[in-house]
């Protein structure tokens, strides 16, 4: 019964310990950030989710990133809308946009939406910095977390057998 309650915490602990290298964690977080920023219900979001699922990245980090940046995305929506409006209604870009929009499947991507386009561009622009910074953070933070978990009984409880195996094979 108790295990059922601590299952999410075990997942979190596993995120920082056993399941993957700092690179995989950082890639997962960056991709999650991208998914989180983009509004859902369109082909763009579906494709990003498929890429996340199909890549060899840490899914937990991706989900945390998506959840976290969904909130951030909401906060930056007004700004995204204004920038998107400027982009999409720019006179010189109209023929290009019209051509792209007329391609098969393009309307499903919702890239003619002011927020979707700018959120995607923002996510792509932030992708590398987030990846790099988080990789550094995970590289420094992962051993410390493992040490901390080893020290305390609660860490052993959260880690269980899988974590112990991970500790044996750093």
């Amino acid at each position: 019964m108790l295990l059922r309650f601590i299952q999410p915490l075990r997942g979190l602990a596993r995120l920082f310990t056993a399941a993957g290298t700092p690179r995989q964690l950082a890639l997962g977080l960056a991709m999650g950030m991208l998914i989180g920023l983009v509004p859902k219900g369109n082909l763009t979001a579906v494709l990003l989710a498929v890429i996340l699922l199909a890549s060899r990245v840490n899914l937990g980090a991706g989900m945390i990133g998506a959840a976290l940046f969904s909130w951030v995305g909401m906060l930056v929506d007004p700004l995204s809308h204004r920038i998107g409006q400027a982009f999409l209604t720019h006179e010189s870009l109209q023929p290009t946009w019209a051509y792209l929009y007329d391609l098969p499947l393009a309307p499903w991507t919702a890239l003619n939406n002011t927020v979707v386009l700018v959120s995607l561009l923002l996510g792509l622009w932030l992708f590398y910095p987030v990846y790099r910074l988080s990789e550094l953070a995970f590289a420094h933070g992962q051993p410390r977390v493992v040490d901390w978990l080893k020290k305390y009984r609660i860490g052993q409880l959260l880690g269980g057998a899988e974590m112990a195996a991970g500790w044996r094979d750093p």
């Binding site: 509004p39 809308h81 019209a98 007329d102 309307p107 939406n113 002011t114």
Partner: protein, 591 residues
């Protein structure tokens, strides 16, 4: 080198996804259509089976039933098979375009085994417009029929003069009986006094006036009272005489008023052709207009217009429409073939039709919905509806043409008034309605021939001779041709009738009514005169007799009192004239 530990789980995942899509696509399509249908109709939508072909971009539905939200135990429609061929290119561009489709076995208003209601409180009622278009003709004929249906005696009984004369004849004898009773009572008292006087006279002590003084004084007092009563009675008779004269005058005045009223009431307005046509055909055609207007309103409720469309509410961002991109509706049925059964004139008939341009965004599509149907039964009916909702307001045009409608024998008008039996025959019906916004214009053309018309006037009790003349006039009508011009609004349609029935029959019917009314007027006036005069003559005769009898009684009483007076005066040895004997003279009592 391939890392199988990485590839295999992902291949398995992809395989599972494809399998889920293959197995779940049909239920998903079925669920989507049911959800959308239920959301639109607020009643149950049932589909037995849905088959989807991704490669062919086709959807095939079997046994589709859509419940009627106004009657949950009835289907709005049901169809055996629905096949929709989608435009795959449009599907890739997020547009659901049905290039062509076929709905087979379409039936309307079929029964359901279970209730089709959903617990949604959306008002589906479509209020039918107020179109009681035959009202004017009906009111006019109602007035005439009310007059003609009454018996002469019934009509006369309602008149004031007849009622007053009767009342006079019945009331006055009662008054006189009361007076007679008083006179009789007076006579009784005189007799009693006479008996008292005889007792006094026969008394051995009568010579001594002192001994009979008390009795005589009492008799004198009684005599005095009786005299006074006779005076009162005579003045009462005088009052009654004046009252009788007034009552008689009132009856005469009432008679004059009644005769005037009879003249006014029986001044039948002549029936013009339009009124008569409206009376005979109004109800039948009013129902047609009402049904069509109802269907238009129903259609308008569910076919969107540019004006009604609310702006989509988006939480995040705005969809920009690029210049140069052709705007197309999200949902469109380009062409749909319909076949099935419909109810027409109480009979099940098979129909074949097409529907084109059904869309959720008519302003983007730019073309109206065009419905065409052809009913092939004993007769052929062609219907064409062009529902143009592309502009700011709806503009609907409906044309129905039925060149050879087999009509059974039917009754025009009302059997309880003036009715006309129409022989069975072939009718050409043509209806054209044009509704721009709420403004209605249109025309209904009905043509039936050869036809035989038989009037039914039994309820009106007109003279057989007049009924025969009407029948002769109607026998000349070999064709019914009605043109109805519609105007007004959808809520309150108005119409103008033109019919060959009117001019051909109005003269005959109006003449018949006028002659009948004139005869009735003269007959009733004569009846009233005779009734009133007869009652008054009887009244006068009876009153005179009663009065003479009463006066005779009073004269007799007067004489007796005078005798008694003398007798008592002798007994009391009073000088003559001490007891008053002067009584008022008889009063004249003549009309």
């Amino acid at each position: 080198m391939i890392r199988w530990s990485y590839v295999i789980p992902r291949l398995l995942l992809l395989g599972a996804l494809v399998l889920a899509l293959w197995a779940g696509l049909n239920p998903l399509v079925r669920w989507t259509i049911v959800s959308m249908g239920q959301s639109a109709t607020t009643a149950k939508v049932e589909i037995d089976r849905a088959e989807t072909s991704l490669l062919g971009a086709k959807i095939h539905l079997t046994d589709v039933r859509v419940a009627n939200p106004q009657d949950p135990m009835e289907n709005l429609f049901e169809a055996d098979q629905v096949t929709l061929a989608l435009d795959s290119d449009s599907l890739l561009r997020r547009k659901l375009i049905v290039r062509e489709g076929r709905v087979s076995g379409l039936r309307f208003g079929t029964d359901r085994d279970a209730s089709g209601t959903l617990d949604w409180s959306i008002d589906w009622d479509v209020e039918l417009p107020h179109a009681d278009l035959g009202e004017l003709g009906r009111q006019r004929l109602d007035q005439l029929a009310d007059i003609l249906k009454q018996q002469l005696v019934e009509q006369a009984e309602q008149l004031e003069s007849v009622r007053l004369a009767k009342d006079l004849y019945e009331r006055w004898p009662v008054e006189y009986e009361r007076m007679e009773a008083r006179a009789d009572s007076l006579r009784g008292r005189v007799e009693s006094l006479r008996a008292l006087s005889d007792t006094v006279r026969d008394n051995p002590l009568a010579d001594n006036p002192l001994r009979t003084l008390g009795a005589c004084q009492q008799a004198a007092l009684e005599l005095q009272q009786m005299r006074q009563e006779i005076v009162d009675l005579r003045s009462e008779i005088e009052r009654l005489r004046r009252q009788a004269l007034n009552d008689k005058d009132a009856v005469v005045l009432a008679k004059d008023r009644d005769l005037e009223k009879i003249r006014e009431t029986f001044q039948g307005e002549s029936l013009d052709a339009e009124t008569l046509s409206e009376y005979l055909l109004g109800e039948e055609l009013s129902e047609t207009v009402r049904s069509l207007a109802g269907w238009v309103r129903w259609g308008r409720k569910y076919l969107p217009t540019d004006v009604e469309r609310p702006e989509p509410v988006r939480g995040r961002g705005v969809d920009v429409l690029f210049r140069g991109v052709r705007r197309r509706p999200d949902f469109l049925i380009e062409s749909l073939v319909l076949d099935g059964e419909a109810q027409l004139g109480g009979r099940r008939v098979e129909f074949l039709g097409t529907a084109a341009g059904i869309t959720t965004q008519p302003e983007l599509y730019g073309r109206p919905v065009v419905l065409k149907a052809r009913i092939n039964a004993q007769t052929e009916v062609a219907l064409e509806a062009v529902l143009d909702h592309t502009g700011a307001g709806a503009h609907d045009r409906i044309t129905i043409s039925c060149p050879d409608w087999k009509q059974p024998e039917r009754v025009l008008g009302r059997p309880d008034q003036l009715a006309v039996f129409v022989s069975p025959g072939s009718t050409h019906l043509w209806v054209s309605l044009d509704l721009e916004g709420e403004q209605l214009s249109g025309r209904i053309l009905v043509q039936q021939g050869p036809v035989e018309l038989i009037p039914d006037l039994a309820a009106l009790r007109v003279e057989p001779r007049l009924a025969q003349s009407l029948q002769t006039a109607m026998s000349e009508v070999r064709q019914i041709r009605v043109v109805v011009d519609l105007s007004g609004t959808l809520e309150k349609p108005e119409w103008r009738f033109q019919s060959n029935l009117g001019p051909q029959l109005a003269g005959a019917v109006s003449g018949m009514f006028e002659r009948e009314l004139d005869a009735r007027r003269r007959e009733l006036a004569a009846y009233v005169r005779s009734q009133v005069e007869e009652q008054l003559a009887r009244f006068e005769g009876r009153i005179l007799a009663e009065q003479q009898e009463l006066l005779a009684k009073l004269d007799l009483n007067n004489t007796q009192i005078r005798e008694l007076n003398q007798l008592i005066a002798q007994r009391l040895r009073l000088p003559k004239g001490v007891l008053a004997e002067g009584l008022p003279q008889g009063l004249p009592f003549r009309f």
